[in-house]
Symmetry: C2
Subunit: 136 residues, 2 copies
């Protein structure tokens, strides 16, 4: 086991920081096709949800709920998708994605569904500001 947490380089390259909660770093995926956050628990070597002790699991789902509320309120999402997959990047990270009936993957899942779309800088900063306003 490593003693300290460090963010996986691939997650770091694909996302930008939004805020830091008690357990998780919250980051925005750089894909304007969907308002898409990831939560990364700052725990060295965590891969599966079942690697967390029960108290930490409760904290995780509380932060998933907090982020889901903030993302839904910031975007008017019609459905929230929440997932811990980690088939490509093992470091535990939870996707919280705002879905719309007119998004490019609907009703399928987002992974691999469409080419990544760049955010305009203003669009991205506006979304991050809204989220930070709700998440602190």
């Amino acid at each position: 086991m490593n003693a300290t947490f460090s963010l996986n380089p691939s997650l770091e390259a694909d996302s930008v920081p939004v805020t830091t909660l008690s357990l998780c770093d919250v980051r925005l995926m750089m894909d304007a096709s969907y308002p898409w956050l990831i939560l990364v628990p700052r725990l060295p070597d965590a891969i599966e949800i079942i690697d967390l002790d029960p108290e930490t699991r409760h904290q995780l789902i509380d932060e998933i709920a907090q982020v889901s509320h903030a993302l839904r309120e910031s975007t008017g999402a019609e459905k929230m998708n929440v997932a811990a997959l980690g088939n490509q990047v093992a470091q535990l990270h939870i996707h919280v994605i705002a879905r719309f009936r007119n998004d490019p993957a609907w009703p399928g899942p987002v992974w691999g569904a469409a080419d990544r779309k760049a955010y305009g800088p203003d669009e991205r900063d506006r979304l991050i500001d809204l989220l930070v306003g709700r998440l602190g």
Copy 2:
């Protein structure tokens, strides 16, 4: 709000019962491509994880962990996938899927990746027996 819970007919048609936990019905998806369970909280009108109060959310993640352990131990899974999507069937249900590097969707997500494969009756019953032995 409806007063009573009833399982969505589409979830019912796609899966068979495994066991009943305090909060959730646990069911096996009828797709032998992946050992694939769903947890369905017996709560009328729940659609999103954030529809649950904090205590019920904690119960949910405890049951997700319990089912994940049982499924991993029963199958030797190399990775667990956990997801609440609900874009096609709104009733809240959580997928817990045992993944293998040689499964037909790896490393992508399972939804829509491959044609459904039928279980042999013995194969299905053997897996359910293993799961029930671990879940009670």
